[in-house]
Symmetry: C2
Subunit: 226 residues, 2 copies
């Protein structure tokens, strides 16, 4: 099974016991999560600072970049786009799976899966790759939906920038299960355990200017998150 190939920048230095090296588990997380957090460095007036923005995304494990491609999109006039293309970016995808209640404050924690991907983004120019990336982003939100939609117009495509980030420099951390208390705290009367968390979908809401039942793709999405 292929494994992640961490460089020095993505090697987990703390909590290495949580580093899950299997690429398949990272791809599973990237499939479950709906939002990524994109970090860019903004340089202005001689100073620089990070900016982190939430964004939709999709993954093509067989994309043109080494080890696969993560796609982001945004308005071609967005301010973060120039910063993103001027230096490396960090794309972090996190799913929160639970709250961990230990006997001590120190051992309280959260259960989560998180992937950190660092790389130089590529502005996608090729029309076929752009179209495929935009379809993947739609289908990541609601699988099967892209083929049911009308074709995008030239104006819509011109207003949309697509970025590709290679999945080469990536690391993953995961925590699951109950608390790990110090031995001297165990055995008393204090309760310890964890609260599992999950994301659920409520029934779809039809737009005021639309009618009829939600189509099969939307119903399947709701059922998958029921």
């Amino acid at each position: 099974m292929p494994t992640l190939s961490p460089t020095r920048r993505t090697t987990v230095t703390r909590g290495a016991d949580r580093a899950i090296r299997e690429r398949d588990r990272m791809l599973a997380l990237l499939g479950d999560a709906l939002v990524a957090h994109l970090g860019v460095v903004v340089s202005r007036d001689g100073t620089s600072h990070p900016v982190v923005l939430p964004t939709a995304f999709a993954v093509d494990p067989d994309g043109p970049d080494a080890d696969g491609t993560l796609y982001l999109h945004g308005s071609s006039g967005a301010g973060w786009l120039r910063s993103a293309l001027a230096s490396d970016v960090c794309v972090t995808v996190t799913e929160l799976d639970g709250l961990v209640a230990a006997r001590s404050a120190f051992h309280h924690s959260m259960n989560y899966r998180s992937a950190v991907i660092i790389g130089r983004p590529r502005l996608v120019d090729d029309p076929d790759e752009r179209a495929r990336a935009l379809d993947l982003i739609i289908d990541h939100m609601i699988p099967g939906r892209a083929t049911t939609l009308r074709a995008s117009t030239r104006k819509e495509l011109a207003a949309t920038a697509v970025l590709a980030v290679p999945l080469r420099e990536a690391s993953m951390k995961e925590r699951a299960g109950g608390p790990v208390d110090d031995p001297e705290d165990v055995g008393g009367t204090a309760w310890a355990g964890h609260i599992p968390l999950r994301r659920v979908a409520l029934p779809p809401v039809t737009a005021p200017d639309a009618q009829g039942e939600a189509p099969a793709d939307v119903r399947r999405r709701v059922e998958a998150l029921a």
Copy 2:
């Protein structure tokens, strides 16, 4: 009512219609969300790149910093800590509220609330402020829990770094409701609408080395997310 005070760095330049200026709504989001994404700039070997990490957090609206304080904590040996103290950081908190299915790919979207806070973090040294911040972080996960726990040991406190980020430079964006389609796409047979999403808690799981019922704080947390 106090409003956010965006500087040039946190003024929303795209989608300003979604910029929600009321400070109370940002505080409500920071109360609902359980995970923040911390962006730091890591400089090494003459180059720099952003790193974005998921982290627990808490807010003290009446904290010692201008406009209130956001607290983060971590291992005092964590690699990101030095980077965080060497320059400004960005703390982004996002709640995903729904998937928006439009008639066109272009108008697909997500419903979300997101706060972006930029500032120079302060390492919290004062013992009282440190203790209060750590209690706030525990109580943010499970309200009321901090007072039920044994006191932290010196060793535990020494192993924990607490960072304070002022809530002064902050912006918030929010999207809610159904799709906004182009007029020429409306009126056909295509369905449009949105899928609300929410986070729910499952029943608490008692640790194998513990016994008894989950205490009232844990039960209340589960009920609040039922």
